[in-house]
Amino acid sequence: MMDDARRARQGRLRWHCRRALLELDIVFQRFWERQEARQAEGLHDGLDEETEAALERLLELQDHDLWEMVSGRTTTNDPQLEGLIENLRRQ
């Protein structure tokens, strides 16, 4: 089970996924739905700390830059962000 501190951290991350652009809202909505589905199947207990940290960093980006990355028009050299972007691109 998640403790209160982790639940709060994930709540904050979820809220930070509310963006200025609809494209990103939808991409992140699908991402969280996939997480919930995996959690429901007992495959994991919420995001692991590495993914959480990568997501936190990704969400610091400006919306247009983030969308260009998610839509494959720009790339990142950061392997952790790369993995997360791959995950976000899944439909």
């Binding site: 919306d63 247009h64 839509s71 494959g72 439909q91």
Partner: protein, 595 residues
């Protein structure tokens, strides 16, 4: 439930373009100013605005504010208030140059002046030919604007309360506005922001529709708060739709796709626009294309298992043209429609884009309501600007690039008026009415205690589907009637929403339930106002008010040249006259809106 009180000279709800512009005015005047915002300011939906901001600078060719005014009145289908429109168009150059001084990186001509490009509906010499009037910063105008204004606010010491949800307006027995109640997301703490001036700049409510180009944050919070406090909402039946949003997602497919040769097809593969607009075909104006698409769907020629969308076909274009001239479209189609648009057509539907109506204001940014025989009496202490407000400059239909102008001009005027009002009345804060704060606490308490209630996601979806089906781009008497009945049923469900997670810290379920309380007010206002307006005008087009020689475009000036006011209490409607008299020039006389 406990709460604390924090005192300010002014509190602004919303940190998009209008809120940031108003805040600059107040903070520069030395007033203690708080800005409450759900998201970090530079993540407000103003970021999505790409087209530019209109101003008759005349940097590339001759232009004049009076021509801009004419275009705006005509675009509004004569429902816009001509005093407010004159004010906005005359102020445009000033606010754009100010923005430049704040550091806005406008595109430039070789001579260093701001580059200007043409945009739909903007013409020279009273409708003669297109004019270059839009000032842009590449395709990131809104984003650049927010950054420039946010930096300016930091410099002048505006206090930002980021990730706070505004809850209710605080109004006393005299009707004066004394601030707002709000909740900090991180702690769940309730705070009364007490202020001598309260400015709403909370944006539009496009998320009341199932298919919307708006980001998820656009839930009409300020409109819901105003309505609950007894303030009417003006002209809410007028919503601008974009013809090509990806079906099921709403993400915009730019008009450029049809410009490059994209073709709309129905379930038989027919290029149906040939029947509706034999000359312009797929390049006809937004409203013509949207209505044609809706007619195809309504008459059973839609595509897919539910026959509820049409197809945008670009498979005949060379792949290199698509990838070069339409960057991003391939990825949008793949991500949001699951199709490879080089090989398959993209499912599209008309999609809600911009709200022309809102909280009634005058051109000074004061919120105005009918009182003692005056149809526009200012509410002491209350101001509004941007998409949440209705000045009314867009009337029944907005021109592109006038929305960024609206938020600069009226953000500034709301700020200026508040500064002047505060200087005039040196009075201390009025006593806070306990009942107003208790109403917020009771609303939160109800949500915490609710059992056997309705699911927030399901209820929101029911509302959005009802709005899309019964109050979309093309309106029908029977559907509107059904829509009114249905939205009142859904309102009952909204009153009994239940959340399972009762935690205080970053509880997104609670925030979404509170947002739905606001959305339902906007949805009711829209549906009820639309059902009552028996003409076609601008973006409000009824099947039973067609184009006839007596009533061109279905517009009925004899009976309907007036603004709608919807009041939450009893779902009452009232009307007020359109201001046909500008500030200094002659009235732009009524005529048929044709391009």
């Amino acid at each position: 439930m406990n709460y604390t009180v924090r005192k300010f000279d002014a509190v602004i709800v919303g940190a998009g373009g209008a809120g940031l512009r108003a805040a600059i005015q107040l903070s520069e005047a030395g007033l203690k100013t708080a800005v409450i915002t759900k998201v970090f300011p530079t993540r407000s939906h103003t970021v999505a605005a790409q087209g530019g901001v209109a101003a008759s600078l005349g940097n590339s060719e001759e232009d004049h504010w009076h021509w801009h005014m004419y275009d705006t009145v005509k675009g509004s289908d004569w429902l816009g208030d001509q005093d407010a429109i004159e004010y906005m168009c005359r102020k445009a150059n000033e606010v754009v140059i100010e923005l430049e001084h704040y550091g806005m990186p406008f595109d430039r001509l070789d001579n260093g002046r701001i580059y200007q490009r043409p945009f739909g509906g903007h013409m020279s010499n009273f409708g003669e030919k297109p004019v270059r009037r839009s000032c842009a910063a590449a395709d990131r105008t809104g984003h650049a604007m927010l950054h420039a204004m946010y930096q300016r606010n930091v410099k002048v010491n505006t206090q930002f309360f980021v990730e706070w949800q505004a809850l209710d307006l605080v109004r006393d027995a005299d009707g004066d506005v004394l601030g707002v109640t709000a909740m900090e997301m991180e702690t769940g703490e309730i705070v009364v922001f007490e202020a001598k001036a309260t400015i709403f700049a909370s944006g539009g409510a496009g998320r009341i529709y199932y298919s919307s180009t708006n980001a998820f944050i656009n839930t009409g919070d300020g409109l819901g708060m105003a309505a609950r406090a007894g303030i009417p909402l003006e002209d809410m039946e007028f919503w601008q739709f974009h013809p090509t949003g990806v079906a099921g997602a709403g993400v915009l497919i730019t008009e450029g796709v049809r410009g490059e040769g994209g073709i709309l097809r129905n379930s038989a593969g027919e290029r149906f626009m040939e029947r509706y607009a034999p000359n312009a075909k797929d390049l006809a104006s937004r409203d013509v294309v949207s209505r044609a698409m809706t007619t195809e769907i309504n008459e059973g020629r839609g595509c897919g298992p539910n026959k509820d969308f049409v197809l945008l076909d670009i498979t005949h274009l060379p792949p290199e043209t698509i990838m070069k001239r339409l960057p991003g479209i391939h990825e949008i189609a793949l991500q949001f429609a699951g199709v490879d648009c080089l090989k398959e057509s993209i499912p599209v539907v008309p999609t809600a884009h911009y709200q022309m109506g809102g909280i009634p204001t005058n051109f000074l940014g004061q919120v105005v309501v009918p009182k003692n025989g005056n149809h526009a009496e200012p509410v002491p202490g209350f101001y509004a600007a941007g998409e949440c407000a209705c000045a009314s400059v867009h009337g029944a239909n907005r021109l592109g690039t006038n929305s960024l102008l609206d938020l600069l001009v009226f953000g500034k005027s709301a700020g200026e008026t508040a500064v002047a009002d505060l200087k005039r009345s040196a009075a201390a804060h009025k006593p806070l009415p306990k009942e107003a704060i208790d109403r917020t606490l009771a609303r939160l308490d109800r949500l915490n205690r609710q059992t056997e209630g309705s699911n927030v996601d399901e209820t929101r979806l029911a509302m959005q589907r009802n709005m899309q089906k019964n109050c979309g781009v093309f309106r029908f008497k029977d559907l509107l009637k059904q829509g009114v009945e249905r939205i009142l049923e859904i309102e009952e469900r909204v009153a009994h929403t239940e959340i399972r997670d009762k935690s205080r810290v970053f509880n997104t379920a609670r925030i979404e339930a509170l947002e739905l309380d606001n959305q339902i007010e906007v949805a009711k206002a829209t549906m009820i106002s639309a059902a009552a307006r028996l003409e076609s005008r601008g973006a409000h087009v009824r099947d039973d008010a067609p184009d006839t020689p007596e009533r061109p475009n279905g517009r009925d000036d004899a009976n309907w040249l007036k603004h709608t006011l919807w009041f939450r209490e009893g779902n009452r409607l009232d009307y007020k006259p359109v201001h046909m008299k500008p500030l200094t020039v002659d009235t732009i006389e009524l005529k048929k809106r044709a391009y």
